[in-house]
């Protein structure tokens, strides 16, 4: 459970919201995605100064010691602006994995670097399936005191901008996680041409690259980090869903046809009412999942999986209908609707598909006490 009061949480969200309003306008986003890195590093540094990159890192290591509840709330803010930085990788997954490791000295230094914004960490968490709940396709072999990694990780976010990677590996059915600097020999990044220009995806190949084992981090810790990651993503999607919905409602109120705002037409009203259920369901599922994870509730996994497919699917549905409700104007590149819609397509697949998590949700239900 978090130590943050609701007011504290709202305060850091407000802070983040103001920062993004100032530094991450739609115009700015459109500029950034045209740059080679696709990342606004200055903004990342500002987030670090506000303590946001260390949201899950304890105060003694330079962070602000929040929980997944704060993360989820921040991600709603991030999603509304289609923020595209390495927050989930660096500030959610990495701290959870690192904090679980027993080689304390090594990880403490790293956590400090994350909190200060000095290091961006990307996570190599899955193979070609894109599914973090399935076995990774990188293997690790011990050679004396050294660990040698081979294989490929797919759909890796923010690889180009990372200073280092955490790599999930599988050997003999066991998951282990390794730290490996980006410039390590044998590590190769292949950047891909994504349809959603706001997010970059890479394949990271390991050809006998040497990694540092996170001691004590196994399948359970990796699963736990994945669950926080999908809830963070769910929060982002819930925020984005609400934002594109609000933009649409605003348009329905201001666009006139037949001498009246089109929002007076009953068929559009009814579409809007139906969508509101999806918008609120996304928020509810993300927030409740975060709360359950933070308090280690017995149904936390179930709620995390529910949030994953609900927010992915509802974001897709709402952003798709938003284009339809806008009509021709949203068929132009200049209108923001398609940016949301494309991000929603991406979100269908990150960490695993909706069908996959629907199935896992049912499995959790089946085994619920």
């Amino acid at each position: 459970m978090t130590d943050f009061s609701e007011e504290d949480r709202e305060a850091i969200c407000d802070m983040f919201r103001r920062l993004l309003a100032d530094q991450a306008s739609e115009e700015k986003l459109r500029e950034i995605i045209e740059t080679p890195s696709g990342l606004d590093k200055a903004l990342w540094q500002q987030m670090a100064e506000l303590g946001l990159t260390g949201i899950m890192i304890p105060a003694e290591l330079g962070g602000i010691g929040g929980s997944i509840e704060e993360v989820e709330a921040l991600m709603e803010v991030a999603g509304a602006s289609l923020y595209n930085g390495p927050f989930i990788s660096t500030s959610v997954i990495a701290p959870i994995l690192l904090s679980a490791a027993t080689n304390t000295e090594f990880v403490s230094a790293l956590l400090e670097d994350i909190a200060s914004g000095e290091k961006i960490i990307a996570i190599a968490g899955c193979g070609r399936s894109g599914d973090w709940t399935k076995s990774p396709e990188v293997s690790a072999k011990q050679n004396g005191s050294e660990w040698i990694l081979s294989g490929s990780a797919c759909f890796v976010q923010h690889a180009r901008n990372a200073d280092a990677f955490l790599v999930a590996t599988a050997q003999e059915g066991n998951v282990a996680v390794f730290y490996i600097p980006k410039n390590a020999p044998g590590l190769d990044i292949v950047e891909h041409d994504t349809d959603d220009k706001t997010l970059r995806l890479s394949t990271v190949d390991f050809d006998k690259a040497q990694g540092i084992l996170l001691e004590g981090v196994g399948e359970e810790q990796f699963k736990s980090a994945t669950q926080s990651a999908i809830v963070a993503l769910a929060g982002e999607q819930a925020g984005a869903t609400r934002q594109i919905f609000d933009l649409t409602i605003e348009y329905l109120n201001t666009r006139f046809q037949f001498g009246q705002p089109i929002g007076r037409f009953q068929a559009l009203k009814h579409m809007a009412a139906d969508l509101l259920i999806e918008v609120e369901s996304a928020s509810s599922s993300a927030r409740h999942a975060a709360r359950a994870l933070a308090s280690k509730a017995p149904n936390a996994s179930m709620l995390a999986y529910l949030a994953k497919f609900t927010c992915a699917d509802n974001f897709r549905k709402v952003s798709a209908d938003a284009i339809q409700l806008h009509g021709g104007i949203a068929y132009t590149v200049e209108h923001p609707a398609h940016l949301y819609w494309r991000r929603a397509q991406t979100g269908q697949w990150l960490f695993g598909s909706s069908d996959r998590f629907r199935d896992l949700y049912l499995s959790e239900m089946e085994t619920a006490p």
Binding site: G263, R264, A272, A273, I277, S281, D359, Y361
Partner: protein
């Protein structure tokens, strides 16, 4: 205070109520009137109301202490300040004289029935045509009401009537508390597609109601009525929440059904079952958020989504239940089949009854999303000029 109250109620209940037989201690069988009088007299029926009106002047939170004790003892008669629509309406809108005359009677009797809908006034309740015409100290009522539950048992009905046809429809309505037990009131049950007949038609011919039984003012009944249905919506919302199957710790019905019929290995059904369970759980989570928002801000727009969401849930669950059962669902010889077929029909109760999904969507779009109001062409013309079928 809370602890004192809790203790007081515990003692009172232990002295008066037999939780095993669910009746007054020593009586052997339950006599509603007798028991309700005891509860009302003790101030436990409507604890949030002032003592003058049979209450204790408690906060809602303290009132829950009483309710919880009653529920623990399986005792009846609690929460009538939350659930007795007729009494609540008279309490809120009636003159002191009317309260003195009726309130005790209402609180100690069976619940009031609602005489709102008519064959020609369903979604458009302000289009009521049942006439009320002044005759001395009385009004004479003629018309037909429909979808009235508990009409047979009810001693009173909350009656929406037309008293002026020369003004626009909302301005010529009068709202009465109407004595049901008189000549000229005929109740006929409606055979519903579920096999139930919980609703009735009520035919009213030259029946009478005293003019002092007007709730609110003559021709201003629409406003009184709004207060009444606000209470009704609250009750329905609570009803929906408590009807939720698969509450914490219980296996959801659909999951149990799939397990019993050995269908949890069918990948196509798994997706459909999971999504159906998700819709129900998402609504639960939305309603939990609504509750938190109400606690924090006194109101929540989320609450208004529950009924609409429930339509997709109920129709969907019924459809998937049938798929799980397979062709055996055609035959009403197992409980699973009977339930699935009943639920499939009953789902319309939610999507049509108490305001259709379409009306709900209008309300959500206009009140929650603040989209512009639809034009009601019958709103501003004299009622007598309104077109009807």
């Amino acid at each position: 205070m809370t602890a004192d109250l809790k203790n007081e109620v515990e003692v009172w209940l232990t002295e008066h109520w037999d939780p095993e037989a669910e009746c007054e201690l020593g009586k052997g069988e339950y006599d509603e009137k007798s028991w309700l009088k005891k509860v009302v007299d003790a101030g436990y029926a409507v604890p949030t109301w002032p003592e003058k009106w049979f209450g204790r002047g408690l906060s809602p939170k303290d009132a829950r202490v009483i309710e919880n004790a009653f529920q623990k003892h399986k005792a009846k008669g609690w929460g009538r300040d939350r659930f007795h629509l007729g009494a609540i309406t008279i309490y809120k809108l009636g003159s002191d004289a009317l309260k003195s005359e009726l309130l005790y009677d209402l609180l100690t009797g069976p619940i009031c029935c609602l005489l709102y809908s008519e064959p020609g006034a369903g979604s458009d309740l302000a289009g009521v045509r049942t006439r009320a015409v002044r005759d001395g100290d009385d009004f004479i009522i003629n018309g037909q009401k429909v979808w009235t539950s508990n009409a047979v048992e009810a001693e009173y009905g909350m009656l929406l009537t037309r008293t002026d046809i020369d003004v626009p429809k909302h301005q010529g309505i009068t709202f009465f508390i109407f004595p049901m037990k008189q000549e000229g009131v005929e109740v006929r049950p409606i055979n519903q597609i579920t096999g139930e007949d919980e609703f009735n038609e009520v035919f009213i011919s030259d029946a009478r109601v005293p003019a002092r039984f007007i709730i609110g003012e003559l021709n201003k009944g629409w406003f009184s009525f709004q207060t009444a249905i606000a209470s009704e919506r609250l009750i329905m919302g609570q009803g929906i929440t408590s009807r939720l199957r698969g509450a914490a710790g219980k296996t959801p019905a659909l999951l149990k059904l799939a397990h019993d019929h050995d269908k949890l290995n069918d990948p196509v059904l798994r997706q459909e079952i999971a999504q159906a369970l998700a819709y129900r759980q998402l609504n639960t989570l939305n309603m939990l958020r609504a509750k938190e928002e109400v606690a924090k801000n006194g109101s929540s727009s989320l609450a208004s989504l529950g009924k609409l969401a429930m339509s997709r849930i109920q129709h969907g669950e019924a459809r998937i239940s049938a798929k799980i059962i397979g062709p055996q669902v055609l035959i009403n010889e197992t409980e699973d089949s009977r339930n699935a077929n009943f639920d499939a029909a009953k789902a319309y109760m939610n999507s049509i009854g108490g305001g259709t999904d379409q009306i709900q969507k209008n309300i959500i779009a206009e009140r929650v999303l603040s989209l512009p109001k639809s034009t009601d062409v019958s709103r501003d013309i004299p009622f007598k000029d309104v077109k009807s079928s």
